[in-house]
C-alpha cells in the first residue's frame, strides 16, 4: 500500500539557517504520526510545507496522492492544517465561522449542516453554536478550529501543537474527535509538547535542528533507551544536579520541573547508592524511584549523546 504521506529529502533554509534539513519519513493511511522536538526543531516549518503554504528548497512531498512541491494548490482540497492558534473570526458566531470555512472548501449546504451538527456534538459544543467566537474559552476556540478544519472531510489532517494552552477536559474531548477520525481512515500528523499526547501516537519522529534523529513507535523508542530512568523530586533540584552529575553509573541528569530525571545503567543497584549519597550531602528530597523512561528523557539522552 502506498503511504498517504511520503517525504523525501525535504529541506528549507531561512537565510543562513537550515530550518529543515533533508527530512524523510512516510506515514500510512489511518496512522497518527507525532513530530516531537524542542522549539526551533523545524516542526512548524515542516507542517507548513506539507500544507502547501510554504515553498521547500529541496526534496519531494507526496500528500494524499498529490505532489505538493510541484502543485501546492491541488492538495488543499484534501487536507486540513490547524496551527497553534486556529484563525477564527471573533466577530462571527460559531455557526458562521463553520459556514465560512465550509464555503471556502465548497461543501454543499446539506452536507455542511449534517456534518457541522455531528462535529459540534462530538466536541460538546452544540449549545454554543450561536455564541460569538471571540467569547469562547481557549479550549473551545481550538475545538471550533478543529470543527472548521474537519468540515470538508479531509483525508489528511496536519495539527501543529493544537492543544497547547488548552484545559485538560477540552484536550480529552479533542482527542476523542481525533480517535474517531482515525477509525474513519483519516491520516493525522501532530506536533505536540505534551508527552502523554506523544505517547498516544502510532509512531513518533524526533526532530532536532531540522534533522530527524529517530523515528519509531513510542514503545520501541523507549526500548532503545540505554539504561533506566530514575526520578528524584526535590525542592533543591539544582543543588542535586551539581551533586549527581558525573556520579558513578549516571550518564545523564536532566532538570524537570521540581526534580531530576537521571539515566542510570542499573536502577536496582543505583537507587540505594544515590539515596545514600544525597542523604550524606544533606540535600532535601521527597522521593527517589525508578520509572518508565518518558519520550523527553530519551530525546535529551539522545541529543546529549551526539
Amino acid at each position: 500500500m502506498e503511504p498517504e504521506i511520503a517525504v523525501e529529502g525535504l529541506s528549507k533554509r531561512f537565510g543562513p539557517v537550515s530550518a529543515v534539513d533533508c527530512l524523510s519519513f512516510a506515514v500510512n493511511r489511518g496512522e497518527i504520526f507525532g513530530l516531537v522536538g524542542p522549539d526551533g526543531a523545524g516542526k512548524t516549518t515542516t507542517m507548513r510545507m506539507l500544507a502547501g503554504v510554504m515553498s521547500c528548497d529541496g526534496g519531494r512531498m507526496k500528500v494524499a496522492g498529490h505532489d505538493v512541491a510541484a502543485n501546492a494548490e491541488a492538495v488543499k482540497g484534501s487536507i486540513s492544517y490547524m496551527p497553534q492558534r486556529f484563525g477564527l473570526y471573533e466577530d462571527l458566531t460559531v455557526d458562521e465561522n463553520i459556514r465560512f470555512y465550509a464555503d471556502l472548501f465548497g461543501v454543499a449546504r446539506t452536507e455542511r449542516r449534517e456534518r457541522g451538527a455531528m462535529l459540534l456534538k462530538a466536541a460538546g459544543m452544540t449549545e454554543f453554536r450561536d455564541r460569538l467566537a471571540g467569547k469562547l474559552s481557549g479550549g473551545m476556540k481550538q475545538k471550533l478550529g478543529l470543527i472548521c478544519a474537519l468540515i470538508h472531510r479531509p483525508r489528511v489532517l496536519l495539527l501543529d501543537e493544537p492543544t497547547t494552552g488548552v484545559d485538560p477536559v477540552s484536550r480529552r474531548e479533542f482527542w476523542q474527535v481525533l480517535y474517531s477520525l482515525l477509525a474513519q481512515g483519516v491520516t493525522i500528523i501532530i506536533s505536540t509538547a505534551y508527552l502523554d499526547e506523544a505517547e498516544r501516537c502510532s509512531r513518533l519522529a524526533l526532530l532536532h535542528k531540522g534533522r530527524l534523529l529517530l523515528c519509531d513507535t513510542p514503545e520501541n523508542l523507549k526500548k532503545r533507551m540505554p539504561g533506566a530512568t530514575v526520578v528524584v523530586s526535590s525542592p533543591q533540584a539544582r543543588d542535586l544536579r551539581e551533586l549527581l552529575a558525573g556520579a558513578e553509573g549516571v550518564s545523564t541528569v536532566i532538570l524537570v520541573g521540581a526534580g531530576l530525571h537521571l539515566v542510570v545503567d542499573d536502577a536496582d543497584r543505583r537507587v540505594p547508592e544515590l539515596k545514600a549519597r544525597i542523604q550524606s550531602a544533606g540535600i532535601a528530597f521527597d522521593e527517589i524511584t525508578a520509572s518508565e523512561p518518558a519520550i523527553e528523557d530519551l530525546f535529551v539522552a539522545y541529543v546529549q549523546g551526539r
Binding site: S55, K76, P83, R85
Partner: protein, 377 residues
Amino acid sequence: MFGRIFHMLLKEFLEVKRDKWERFRLLVPPLIQKVLFGYAATFEVYHVSTAVLDLDHSQESREMVSRFTGNGRFDVEALPSSSQAMRGLIDRSKITVGIRINPQFGELLRKGQTAPLQVIVDGTNSNTALLALDYVGQIAARFSSDYQRDYMNRIFPEYQVMLPSAKMEERPWYNPDLDSQWFFVPGLVGSIALMTIVNVTSFAIVREREIGTLEQIMVTPIRPIEFILGKTVPFFVLGLIEVALVAVAGALWFGVPFRGNPLVMLLGTSLFLISSLAVGLLISTTCRTQQQAFASGFFYLTPAFTLSGFAFPISSMPTVMQWITYLDPLRYYLVVLRGTFLKGTGLAILWPQMVAMAILGVAMFAVSVARFEKSLD
C-alpha cells in the same frame, strides 16, 4: 468562484456590522474632518492684528488710518508711541502688520509730492504676509487716487477734472464670491475618501494576518483573486457610501452647489477607488501588523495630498514635480470633483481625467495582485 467571493463579501459585511469601532471609524472621523477642514482650511486673510504709529497727526494721516480700521481685514489693536515699541509688538507676535506714518506725511501730500507710508509685516507666514501687503497696497492706492482727485479739484476749482484711469471689473466664474470653502469642500471629498479607503483596506487584510485567519484561508483551495475581490469589493461599496455621505454633508452644511451630473461623479469616484484599494492592498502585502500598515499609509498619503493640487497649485510647482503629479490619481479625481460640483462639466470635458484614473487604477491593482501570493514565505 462567485460562490466563494460572495461568502467572503458576506463575512466582511457581517464583521463590519458587528464591529462597533469599525463602523465608528468609517463614519465619524470623516465627517469631523469634513467640518473641521471646511471651516479651518482657508487662504483668506481677515482680522490681521495691526499697530499704527502715527508720527504726523495731520488730517491726512488720520484719514489714512481710518481706512484701515473700517474694512474688516485689519484690526488696529495697538497705537505704539515709538518704533522700538512697534518692533517689540512684532517680536512678541502681538501684531502681524505695523504701519508707520512719518512726520510731514500730510505736508508732503499738500505740496503735491510723494509721501512714504512704511509697512512692516511679520513674514513668518509668507502667505498671510503677502495677502496683507496686497490689501495695504490696495488701500494706499485708493487713498492716493481719492486724494489726487480732491487735490486737483482744489487747485482748479473752475474745471471738472478728468483723470484717466483703467478700472478692473471682476467676474469670477463658478465661485462668484471667491469663497475658499467652495474650493476646499469638493477637494475634501477626495482627500477623505483616499485616506479612509487606503487605511481601512490595508488594516482589514493585515488584521487577518494578525489573527491568523490569513494563514487559515491560504490552506483552503481559494484562489488569490477570489480572496482579493472578496476583500476589496466590500470596501469599494463602503467607499461609494462614504463619498456620497461626505459630499452631501459638504454640500448641505457649507452650501457648496452641485451643478454637474451625479453619474459622472459616480464614474470618477469608482475609478478613483480602484487605485485607492490597490494602494491599501499593496501596503497589506508588505506589513505584518496594523501599526506598520498605518505608518506605511503615510508614505503614500502625504505625497498624494501634496502633489494633488488639493491646496498647492500644481502650476506653481517645479517642472519635475509637475511630472510626478501625473502619477497621482487624486490629482485627476480633484479635477472631476471640482468640475462636477462647481462647473457642472460632464464627460465631454472630463474624459481625459477618467482615462488617466482608469489606467493608473488598473496598473496599480495589477501590481498589488501580482505581489499578493498565497504563501507565508
